[in-house]
């Protein structure tokens, strides 16, 4: 039999170049796994045909779970029998994507034994992904995983695996314990993750500060982003040291501040805290000299999603400031009241952001019991199409005229 590389001349082009090659990763497993070899051959065919050779066909899963597995089948199973089934298993990552080597070695062993031995570290939503196994192996793999303390992630119309930035574990700017709340919420809502019961998918992402290192504002239905309410802390000495080292706070902070809230006169940093919009720029540029305040919490935003169907949405402010403290009851109550309204009013495959848009944010706020706040909008309405709740009836009119 010929060497597998000769079967994939186009893909072999991707073994060249300096960036690590996914083809190399696949070939490494192809040597021992016919499944991977067939997937590679099928991929080569895609490179020739310029189209995918996967098809969708029915839901697969493990007992008692409504999600966590993405079923995938070759459209040419005769040609690529090893690729006939090639489902992915989504495994819930630990908060912050931290591992010890023992845990990873356990996972590798399981993935090698029951599947292709290929992974995505990690999927876009944050899961550990075992890229490819057969329907038969699903139950065994699930048992092996739970045995070692791992569980599945989400898919379908369910809560998806929450994720968070590295936060307090390694970052000076984490305004609350992102890892802990991410872990806590994941455990608290196991049922919502594993048994799809929502109108559509729901994603939670947690960033410790407005830099938003998990892109929560763009990719989560419910975005928790750290912020502070009190004054920025400044240290003129440290700034003087930066300047001595050749840094220029006028260029790196003053001129970049979106609201012109910071001044530097060569000696002192002055912050107009009333106008500071917590954009992080001066802090990012001078971590030793400028630090967030100490009255910390998070802004909660709602509704981000990719463009299908109504166009992409970013999350927008729902609660300008909330303290984020164990046991996170306030967050959970908010989540549940949102899910209730979504349950009552959401259409099938309607993301929460689309519901807010369709219903109107003012109406939505009323339904979840939050008072309108001017910080929720960039500006008040520009059109006069106000539907007033309050007005007089004709009978009042009659009375009034008497």
């Amino acid at each position: 039999m010929s060497n597998p590389s000769s079967e994939t001349p186009l893909l072999d082009e991707l073994l060249k170049g300096r960036w690590p090659s996914f083809v190399k990763e696949m070939k490494e497993m192809a040597d021992t796994k016919p499944m991977v070899r067939d997937v590679l051959r099928q991929l080569e065919k895609s490179y020739v045909d310029k189209k995918t050779h996967w098809k969708h066909g029915g839901i697969v899963g493990v007992k008692g779970y409504g999600g966590g597995i993405i079923g995938r089948y070759s459209d040419s199973p005769e040609e690529f029998p090893g690729a006939a089934h090639f489902h992915t298993v989504r495994v819930n990552q630990p908060a912050g994507w931290f591992y010890n080597t023992q845990a990873l070695r356990d996972l590798c062993e399981i993935f090698d034994k029951y599947g292709s031995g290929l992974t995505n570290m990690h999927g876009s939503t944050g899961d550990i992904i075992l890229l490819g196994t057969t329907t038969d192996e699903l139950e065994p793999i699930f048992s092996a995983l739970t045995e070692k303390g791992w569980d599945l992630g989400g898919s379908g119309s369910a809560l998806r695996t929450p994720s968070c930035c590295v936060g307090p574990a390694r970052c000076e700017w984490a305004m609350f314990d992102c890892l802990d709340i991410c872990h806590d919420i994941t455990h608290h809502y196991q049922d919502e993750i594993h048994r799809p019961a929502f109108p559509y998918k729901f994603k939670i992402k947690v960033s410790g500060c407005p830099n938003d290192c998990v892109s929560s504002i763009a990719r989560a239905d419910f975005s928790i982003i750290g912020t502070w309410r009190d004054h920025i802390r400044v240290n003129d000495e440290e700034m003087t040291r930066y300047v001595a080292n050749g840094r220029n706070p006028i260029n790196d902070a003053v001129l970049l501040c979106p609201t012109r809230a910071i001044e530097w006169d060569g000696k002192k940093i002055k912050i107009d805290n009333e106008n500071c919009v917590r954009c992080m720029q001066c802090i990012n540029a001078y971590p030793r000299a400028i630090k967030p305040g100490l009255d910390r919490g998070a802004t909660i935003l709602i509704g981000a999603k990719a463009p299908i169907v109504q166009g992409a949405l970013f999350s927008s402010v729902l609660v300008p400031f909330m303290k984020i403290e164990e046991p996170y009851d306030e967050v959970k109550e908010l989540l549940e009241s949102i899910w209730d309204v979504w349950d009552d009013h959401g259409e099938n495959k309607e993301r929460i952001g689309e519901l807010v848009e369709r219903m109107g944010k003012g109406e939505f706020l009323e339904k979840i019991g939050i008072a309108p706040d001017v910080q929720m909008v960039i500006h008040p309405r520009e059109n006069p199409y106000i539907f007033y709740d309050e007005f007089y009836e004709e009978e009042d009119d009659a009375t009034a005229n008497k």
């Binding site: 960036w19 990763e25 990873l104 290929l118």
Partner: protein, 356 residues
Amino acid sequence: MNVRKTDIGCPDYKQFLPPVILENYGKWDYHEIPRPGVMLHVGESGDKLWSVRVGSPRLLSVKSILYFCDIADKYCDGFLRFTSRSNVEFMTVHEANIEPMIKELEGEGWPVGGTANSASNVIHTQGWVHCHTSATDASGLVKCVMDELYDDFTHHSLPGRMKLAVACCLNMCGAVHASDIAILGIHRRPPKVQKENLAKYCEVPTTIAACPTGAIRADILNGEKTLQINESQCMYCGACYTACPKLPIADALNDGLSIWVGGKCANARSVPRFTKLVVPFIPNNPPRWPEVVDAVRTIVNVYKAHGKPWERLADMIDRIGWARFFKLTGFEFTKYHIDDYKLATKSYNASTHLRF
């Protein structure tokens, strides 16, 4: 017999945190980036933690993961992490370990970089490797683009942070809608309905309901239920193919790529921004997609030449104007660039603020 375990959730992250992190948890004082790919975090306690960031193709075999474990055992007391962009981070309190560790990793072909003003790794999706609606291959595109941007990943060569993304269809599983540079696979034609025997393979009402634009209607062929698609209503999203295998959307001649720029997620300086179209269509040209790589290189070069410190691509374009950006890149502005969807009006220039 063992009780089947379910709903145990993810393992506790605490067991995966190295001791220095447990001790300085929430009490970090500041950080520095001593060289590309290396971060130093200093605790209020004075403790120091170095992290080495390694670029990853994300699609990893268990062999590579085990190799990473070896490195972590050797240099990092057995701890490591992954980033929100699929890079690997090796953390150590032993400054002396840094150089040997980097040498070893680089020796095995693992690039160290991706910090501060370098090109980021590319957030991407499944493509032909695993998805049925893909209009292109994600991993292949990423490989070609990162080969080209390799030196920009390993050096702080850019004016500011530059975040890239690839997605293989309009579902945009990732960050395409909010990245500095994004490559998006697109279909340009409706699925081709395989009308015969359709009802045997798909549940007709479910498929009709799956279409976001209501473009699918029931039809009858040889007395049996089948489907038809109203071409002018279809926006090529592929949702119907997910529901029914008789509606394949892949189309070698009409699938291809589009290129987008100027999105961002961070609230740093400016507010988050959506990505904007710059190249409406490039045909698929595997295995190296040279036209796509060229376009990305062009954009990166313009950014390098014209961006000011800290400016993301969006910030730079704000300053120089879109007209100049198109001029500098040489991309053609066409009617496709003019929004005609729901909120289009808001993108029209309703002012006389013009640059000549």
